[in-house]
Symmetry: none
Subunit: 178 residues, 4 copies
DNA sequence: GATGAATGAGTATTCATTCAT
DNA sequence: AATGAATGAATACTCATTCAT
């Protein structure tokens, strides 16, 4: 069993649950059953560990759109994308909460700033590619609206309203864009 | 000058800039020019200070809708509300960032949990009151969509995209709801 | 009793005996009967504590020459100076060892570099003032020789030879310069 | 190329520059391009590595006097010795600084204590052999003075005064002893 | 109301060393 | 001979909080 991977897994979990600052490296070690020394052997410091996790998560998110890349019709593709994002969101709640929280905390935000910008651009561009095929002239604004909607849903669903009607809103959203 | 108020002001500023966990009480003292003893004299502990700030901010946010409470037409009132929220958002960027960040960090989230729920319910209900007058039967979903849109815009505008076209999106949103 | 002074006293002692790097702050606390927090309350970090001690020691050394400042005859003054230095050296062995060791260790040397240069210049100039009155033209070289002799004696007496005949050498030195 | 030798070379360099305590074994490995395992394969522990270097250096220093061993006239031999020592000192600055620093730090001093005493006796005796031929009865004191002078010059030249006039002082010293 | 000395628990990080391969 | 994963003990430093004045 690969201990480096194990450390990453445990760290993701704890960072998501307790937050980065409030997760001592010692807690990771305890749960992973490894020594502190080993964590610092594999990851130069705690920040590097955070970055490694963020990069991993970015990859995972980047792959959400992959299966529908070849769908011709942009509207259909958009619908598939919405479907995929929202179901990924409810499947990996913890991961998405982790993402939101590290992107909004000043301390972690700084540690990750380049990676955050990269990811956001990537997400925007991928979406914009679809909107360009729907309406060339004001795709940018449409994309911004779309991304805002998705992010707002994430926020309310994951953090603010326990009774958030995800299913219903998913249907509405798909209807709207189809 | 009231030193208790001064402490609150400085704390808001620092919590917004550096985050709650990363702002030592000593930093607040230094910037406010007061002793540590005094901070703990006025606020039993650091958490109480955070709660005091959150309560203050909730009041401020609650007041945003006040001026248009008497607008009869619900659509017009909605438009006025959007206008008010977005302009408040761009005027008090720091405060809104502070809000998002304390509501998403596990540690601060726990400290504030009752206050967060209270505020979110209040915001939902206020908005829902308007939507009920537009469409009685599915007001809840409409409200959820509306609140998601606002929150998503906040997230993207304040944190994710430096070039977020707030103005344009404001217009679109107002058109849509009018 | 002043705890700040107490910390300094204990630290001098331990740094001299064990060396700066090998003296954990915790050891100082234990011996002084204070908490770690207090040490860092009074001295921002361990380096600042070292500097405080070095400054103190420089003052002490600077005072060695004071009593004979008004001796007219330069040769007589030199003799008095030698006498004073060597007796101070055998009285405060620990302090002088501490000095030599922090000035030669790369790590501590860097922390103290400005203070070391300052002290060395001060010592050189003070001595040179005397030699200038003995022989104006080549005082610099004479001073360098004199300072080397003193430092060499310190080194051999304090560190290298347990049977170093300090008394005899003192006499010789005084004869030579008188 | 012999990796054991390589490790020694790199270690000398780093110990001299950064000090023994402040040079992690890992730094040696990095610079030498070898694994940690190998260092501990060749040298049982870090102290053994230090001792190996010190022994090497002692040999080098011991050889300084060799070429003039057969000079008959003691005064001439003394002059040659001074010449040789001072030129070796300015040629191998780093090595001499290393020597001074490990001999004065309590921690390294302890590790090397037997080797230090041995070396100091050897140096004393070698010099004393010469002085005995100059003046049988008080050779010991003369030797102590001589060694002190040399050590004091080393200290001031290598550590304390950037503008130390080594050349001039060398001439004076040679004149004095001739 | 106001200060600042004092505490103690917590936390990231370093590093020599061991050992299986 | 050579590697590098793994350990564990040590260490500087942070920070909320208390309390006497």
């Amino acid at each position: 069993m690969n201990k480096k991977e194990l450390i990453l897994d445990v760290a993701i979990d704890l960072f998501a649950k307790e937050g980065f600052e409030k997760t001592p490296v010692s807690a990771i070690c305890e749960r992973a059953g490894v020594s502190k020394g080993l964590v610092f052997h594999h990851f130069k410091n705690k920040n590097v560990l955070l970055r490694a996790i963020f990069i991993r998560t970015t990859e995972m998110i980047g792959n959400i759109g992959k299966p529908h890349e070849k769908v011709r019709d942009p509207k259909e593709r958009l619908a598939a994308l919405i479907e995929a994002i929202l179901s990924s969101m409810s499947e990996h709640r913890k991961l998405y909460k982790f993402n939101l929280n590290v992107m909004l905390q000043p301390a972690t935000r700084e540690i990750l700033s380049d990676l955050i910008n990269e990811r956001n651009s990537m997400l925007f561009d991928t979406t914009d590619d679809i909107f360009k095929r729907i309406s060339e002239d004001n795709s940018k604004t449409l994309t911004h609206v779309f991304v805002s909607e998705i992010n707002g849903i994430a926020l309310n669903y994951l953090y603010f309203y326990d009774d958030f009607p995800l299913e219903e809103i998913r249907k509405q959203l798909i209807n709207k864009y189809k």
